[in-house]
């Protein structure tokens, strides 16, 4: 799809979110809630004593999974699947460059996820919650974050070009 039209579509979804519930989009926060829930299920005391996770558990009256973001991300999954099937882009495969093996690529994907988690935790959000949402609201921290994301990515791109080119 024309990237500008896709962008307008995305922007309207974001606007709808502001108008309907007074908050923007997000993704990384849902992962935090799920982790807090998971750890709490397996080792409740550990979760409650961990200051970071405890925040996502609150006073325990509601499951961390009953979160706006978790439901939004579930919708994300569904919407993307629908679009992919519609466009014939849904296929079980591994995206990678020509010079790297599938195994290496998968390891790098995992590593990227770990890095991304640290970055998103520190920044209180990721490209969806900070760059898109905060960007539209002219949030200072979000704009700073957004510029740094591009900077960091461009800086590191040279060193991982073997993965993609």
């Amino acid at each position: 799809m024309n990237p500008y039209l896709a962008g307008i579509g995305l922007g309207l979804v974001l606007l709808a979110s502001f108008v309907l519930v007074g908050r923007g989009l997000g993704a990384s926060g849902a992962f935090n809630s799920v982790i807090a829930w998971g750890v709490h299920t397996v080792a409740p005391e550990h979760a409650k004593h961990n200051e970071f996770m405890a925040g996502y558990l609150g006073d325990g009256s509601e499951s961390p999974l009953k979160s706006w973001l978790v439901f939004e991300v579930l919708g994300l999954f569904a919407g993307a699947m629908f679009s992919g099937l519609l466009a014939g882009r849904a296929k079980v495969m591994t995206e990678k460059g020509p010079r790297v093996s599938v195994r290496t690529r998968l390891a790098m994907a995992f590593a990227g996820g770990v890095l991304m988690a640290f970055g998103a935790a520190l920044a209180r959000g990721c490209t969806s919650g900070q760059a898109l949402t905060g960007g539209a609201l002219l949030n200072l921290g979000s704009w700073a974050f957004m510029m740094m994301v591009f900077a960091g990515a461009y800086a590191v791109a040279y060193f991982v070009r073997w993965e993609w080119r």
Binding site: N2, Y4, I8, G24, G26, A27, S28, G29, N32, S33, G55, Y56, L57, G58, D59, S61, E62, P64, S67, W68, L69, R124, G125, C126, S128, G129, Q130, T133
Partner: protein, 226 residues
């Protein structure tokens, strides 16, 4: 004009539209600011009809019943709140009232020491369009006087006896203690404002047989992040 417009690609049209909208937006003032419009008549009527307050015993009953459909707001400073607050109250000092994120359709009961701050806060919130705002009539003073340290008759008639029992139960629930009418009359020396200092200190904050049901208003809500 039409010919020139039709030579533009879709992307160029979009860009043009964005720039035009951006230029108009140069004059935008999207944040409403703190000024409000008051409907003086409506507010005056609400006060006259006494639709603006909740009595202390009423609130006590709500707390005992563990009602969760309202939010109790303590308007005093943090230190005063920490020393004692009505169970279930959330602390929103006067200064942060507009930033507190209180829901406009929520039922809010405001209180302060007496009635002045809660009356002012009531006015401010009503002016901003909050629908369900009420003051605790008499504030903490009346709360102490009628709920925590109620005055009981010394020689109660049968009617008074059952009423006094109720008052005693309520008072104990909130960690207080009833006072005898005679003692108040003698010690108070006709200066109702001075009744408290000689009395027992207000109970420390501890959730009295805490409403087991719904989450206490203002309890640590889980955060959700982005």
């Amino acid at each position: 004009m039409r010919n020139w417009m039709s030579t533009l690609t879709l992307n160029q049209k979009l860009a043009l539209g964005a720039v035009v909208l951006g230029a108009i937006a140069l004059f935008a003032t999207p944040y409403p600011g703190s000024s409000v419009t008051l409907d003086a008549k409506e507010l005056a009527l609400a006060v006259a009809k006494e639709a603006d307050h909740v009595e202390a015993p009423e609130l006590a009953a709500w707390i005992i019943e563990s009602r969760a459909d309202y939010r109790l707001v303590d308007l005093r400073s943090e230190s005063e709140y920490a020393e004692y607050h009505i169970p279930g109250a959330v602390n929103v000092p006067m200064g942060s009232l507009t930033d507190a994120g209180l829901g406009r359709q929520e039922t809010l009961v405001l209180y302060s020491d007496g009635g002045i701050h809660s009356a002012q806060a009531w006015m401010l919130l009503k002016a901003q369009g909050y629908k369900g705002v009420y003051m605790l009539k008499g504030g903490l003073e009346e709360w102490k006087d009628r709920v925590v340290f109620p005055v009981l008759a010394d020689n109660p008639t049968p009617d008074q006896r059952s009423r006094d029992e109720r008052l005693r139960t309520i008072s104990t629930f909130f960690g207080g203690q009833p006072r005898s009418a005679g003692a108040v009359a003698a010690g108070g020396a006709g200066m109702p404002g001075m009744a408290m200092p000689a009395g027992p200190a207000l109970p420390k904050v501890s959730a009295p047989a805490s409403p087991a049901g719904g989450a206490r208003p203002g309890a640590a809500k889980k955060k959700e992040g982005c």
